[in-house]
Symmetry: C2
Subunit: 140 residues, 2 copies
Amino acid sequence: MNDHAFQLHERLASDCRVIADLTLCRVLLMNDRRFPWLILVPRRAGLRELHDVPAEHRVALMAEIEVASKVLLEQLGATKINVGALGNVVPQLHVHVVGRRAQDAAWPAPVWGFGAAERYEDSELDQLSEQLRLALGVRG
Amino acid sequence: MNDHAFQLHERLASDCRVIADLTLCRVLLMNDRRFPWLILVPRRAGLRELHDVPAEHRVALMAEIEVASKVLLEQLGATKINVGALGNVVPQLHVHVVGRRAQDAAWPAPVWGFGAAERYEDSELDQLSEQLRLALGVRG
C-alpha cells in the first residue's frame, strides 16, 4: 500500500518521533510527555479531510485507530481515548489518538492548543519508541 | 439497525437539537451559532470509545461522517472540517463534525472548550433543522 508521492509534513516530522508504518498509516509519537499521544498519518498523498480517505482504506484506518488506542489503554496508563482529525494548522490528514487520564494536565479539556509541549529526554523517547514498536508488533 | 436500549445522553439532548436518524447514527445540531456543528451518535447502547463501534458498523460510521461533512462544506459555508470523538465529559460515544472557517471565532484553535455557546433563536434553529433534513435527504 505504498504511495510514492507521500511525504510526511515537515511540521509533523519536527513535532513527533516516527514509530512505525502499519498497513495504511505512519505512526508517530508526539514529543510531549504530558500525554501519551500517537498520530496516524495515512501514507497517501493529497489527503486533507477524514472523508478524503478512499472507501477501500477506511476499514484499515478504523482498525489502526483501534490498535493505537489499545496500546495507549493497555500499556501507557490511559483510561480514555480522544480521537481527532483537525488539520487547521497542518493540512496533511493526520489522526490524533490521545491517551487521557482524569489526572492529566488538561483534563477534561482537549489537549489541542493546551499550553506548551514538554519534550521527552532523548533516552526516554528511544525507550518509549521501542516499547511502542513491540506493542504494535513491528520491528524497529 | 435499532437498538432498543439506546437512549440519547441528557447532556447531548439539552445542548443540541435532534435533526434526524441516519442508518447508524442520530444526527444532532449543536445549539451554538458560532460554528456549524453536527454531532453523530451511533444508536447502539453502551458505546464509549470510537473503537467500541463494532466492525460491521464502521463503514456506515465513516459514510455518515462524510455525509455530515459535505453538508457543512457545501451548504453551510465551512471550508475545513474538524472531526473529534472525545467524551471526557459525556461518556456516551458521540462524534463531533464541525465546520470551520478561517474567520471563525476560535480559528485555528479547536472549538471544544472554547468560550461559551451562543444559542440560536428558536426560529433560526427551526429553519436550519429543516435545511439540514433536506440536505441529509430525510423527512422532518
